[in-house]
């Protein structure tokens, strides 16, 4: 196997004295969709934040595209063509949809802003209808679309999504997953997906990791994990 695009080795992270990550190893290869599933409080979002440098990892290393980014400040990481749609969407509520998208293109210096804007409106026609509306007035699904579109405006190689299906109607969640799969298939976009919706995430992903209590307990191909007894018992039965 060639060198992975993102390689996380033995990463630990703490909130004060509480260990949130206890030595995590995760690889994300170029062109892959990799998902990380786990229960509430397992440390999934913490891992994603740690990759983005807030909080910084106490031990271990995070290497992206051959470059160690373990100690790189957040905004510098964002300039390396890693985009993040953080937990809770975090769109700018008082700014219009189009301003939100323009903020996403800030990293690129607005080099291909117009073209990318058009592309986002093609992918998410709803956003075009809402273009001049304030972000805070959008519905949850639209806000999620906006958060993803904003992340895509920076033309990332690696897109990191934290629970894009959270709080969305199943149909909207499905749409969002379809868009992710499409972007991966047509443009070879690498996606690192943190999800609680294990069924959809594992069906979509090439590979998956299961996190329990700040540690990776299982990993494997997405469909394979879906068949595993322990995964089914913990994350799927009753959940679906």
């Amino acid at each position: 196997m060639t060198e992975p695009l993102l390689s996380i080795r033995g990463v630990t992270a703490y909130y004060g004295a509480i260990a949130a990550l206890k030595g995590v190893d995760v690889d994300v290869g170029e062109g892959e969709i990799v998902t990380l599933i786990g229960a509430n409080g397992a440390g999934k979002s913490t891992l994603m934040m740690t990759i983005f440098g807030a909080p910084q990892a106490r031990d271990g290393s995070i290497v992206y595209d051959g470059q160690d980014i373990t100690r790189t400040p957040t905004h510098k990481i964002a300039q390396l063509k890693i985009a993040q749609s953080p937990e809770g969407r975090r769109i700018f509520p008082r700014m219009s949809v189009i301003e939100n998208l323009k903020m996403g293109a800030a990293v690129t210096g607005y080099a291909h802003y117009e073209a990318d804007l058009q592309r986002m409106f093609d992918i998410f026609p709803r956003l075009k209808e809402r273009a001049n509306q304030r972000g805070g007035t959008l519905s949850g699904g639209e806000q999620q679309m906006l958060a993803i579109a904003r992340a895509l405006m920076s033309r990332p190689r690696l897109l990191m999504l934290d629970e894009p299906s959270l709080g969305l109607a199943p149909l909207i969640a499905k749409q969002i997953f379809a868009v992710i799969a499409e972007l991966n298939r047509t443009e070879g976009l690498t996606v690192f997906l943190v999800e609680q919706n294990a069924y959809h995430a594992l069906k979509l992903a090439h590979r998956g990791y299961v996190m329990v209590n700040g540690q990776i307990t299982l990993s494997g191909a997405g469909r394979e994990l879906l068949e595993r007894e322990e995964v089914r018992a913990a994350y799927l039965e009753g959940g679906r």
């Binding site: 807030a54 975090r90 769109i91």
Partner: protein, 437 residues
């Protein structure tokens, strides 16, 4: 057919209103009896309790009658309630109206001193109001756009004023040289304040900036040999008109232009100077809002974490906001110094910071026009109440409470986006193509 239950079953409207008014009167009695009814007076033998039951009766009667009247009119049950907020349609119309209002207001400000009935007092008041408009616009960059609550803004105003006064005193530099220097120095202090507070937000930031404002004032007060301490600095040189002084001399402004000397010339000149400075602040702010840095400020106000994950350097973004806001305060400060001719730490107390912040908040954070209106209302209102200075602060507080009840997001709460999708234009364009032939 009349409702048979109207008289017997349900108590009549009047009875309900009467009962409510009586209850209100009882509450008023409870409050008024100790506060109005009993007054301690100093007599030869010590302190005596004087009784004023007449006053209490009047207060209770006013509350009772007023409450009854309101219950029967405005608060009458079943009366269609008017909406508590401005409906969006009216809001949109107002916004459209405001588009023309702003140029009109500027035009009004420009011609004001030329009008025949304008007195010196009006121009002086105009200078005062415009100074606060400028300060409001400057603080608006920090508070309204970048969302950094700054309670020590007056510190930069002081830095600007003292920069000019001291540079003029020690080096004999003219106003026009000192104006940019004062701006730069204030901006420098803005960055100095910015660094330690980078990690703070909200209440904590407010406290530190408040402390900073006080530090600057107290240093000015105690650094006696340098700043003159509480005596301040007097004899600050007046500005010249491209090297022409406003005096009686043969090379003065009046003589050069063949006018008869009038002390009003300088006042009018100062008026236009502060108008130009204020408009400069406004133009710079409006332009910056459309640039990446302006958008970054607003995004920072909305969500700092999201901002960082989009690759925005929040350190630089905050520091530029602080520096720019401080720079305009510095300009305003050196204008203040040259206008007064005398400055002392008295002029830079916390009350000034609070006033400027109130202007920004009441105007609607981030709205340029709202801030200008709020400055006119507050400072103009303050001047109107000069006669009754005892009631000034009460009125000030009352106006703030009322505005916050009616317009919780400030006078102008609509935020105009800096980028638009010009869809409408495209549609009309295609319609034109369809229609021709």
């Amino acid at each position: 057919m009349a409702d048979p239950h109207a008289g017997a079953g349900a108590p009549s409207v009047f009875a309900v209103a009467f009962k409510d008014a009586a209850f209100a009167a009882l509450v008023a009695l409870g409050l008024a009896a100790p506060m109005l009814g009993l007054v301690t007076v100093q007599t030869q033998s010590g302190i005596e309790l004087e009784q004023h039951w007449g006053k209490v009766a009047i207060a209770v009667a006013i509350v009772f009658a007023g409450r009854l009247l309101l219950n029967l009119t405005l608060w009458r049950p079943g009366r269609k309630k008017s909406l508590g907020y401005v409906p969006p349609k009216v809001e949109a119309r107002l916004a459209r109206f405001a588009k023309y209002l702003a140029p009109l207001a500027i035009l009004g400000a420009v011609v004001m001193p030329m009008l025949p009935f304008t007195e010196r007092y009006a121009i002086d008041l105009g200078i005062l109001v415009l100074t606060y408009v400028m300060l409001g616009w400057g603080l608006n960059i920090v508070v309204g756009l970048a969302g950094l609550l700054d309670l020590g803004y007056v510190a930069f105003y002081a830095v600007g004023a003292y920069s000019y006064a001291l540079l003029a005193q020690y080096f004999g530099l003219s106003f026009w040289v000192c104006l940019p220097l004062a701006g730069i120095l204030a901006a420098f202090w803005g960055v100095i304040l910015g660094f330690p507070v980078l990690r703070l937000r909200g209440d904590y930031l407010a406290i530190v900036t408040l402390a900073f404002g006080e530090i600057i004032r107290i240093v000015l007060l105690n650094w006696y040999w340098f700043t003159g301490g509480p005596n301040g600095i007097s004899g600050i040189p007046r500005p010249s008109f491209f090297g022409l002084d406003f005096d009686r001399g043969d090379d003065g402004f009046a003589a050069t232009f063949g006018l008869t000397y009038s002390p009003l010339h300088r006042i009018v000149f100062l008026y236009y100077l502060i108008l130009a400075l204020a408009l400069l602040t406004n133009v710079v702010t409006i332009r910056l809002r459309r640039l990446p840095i302006g958008r970054a400020w607003e995004a920072l106000r909305e969500d700092e974490i999201a901002c960082r994950s989009l690759g925005i350097n929040t350190v630089n973004t905050k520091l530029t906001a602080f520096a720019l806001g401080a720079m305009f305060a510095g300009f305003a400060g050196s204008f203040f110094a040259t206008r007064q001719g005398f400055i002392s730490p008295e002029s830079f107390v916390f009350m000034e910071s609070a006033l400027i912040l109130a202007i920004v908040v009441l105007g609607g954070m981030g709205s340029q026009f709202g801030v200008a209106v709020a400055a006119v209302v507050m400072i103009g209102g303050f001047e109107l109440f000069r006669e009754f200075s005892d009631y000034r602060m009460i009125t000030f507080g009352l106006v703030m409470v009322l505005i916050m009840i009616w317009r919780p997001r400030g006078l102008v709460s609509t935020r105009s986006p800096s980028v638009f999708l010009k869809e409408k234009k495209a549609i009309s364009g295609s319609l034109v193509q369809e229609g021709h032939g």
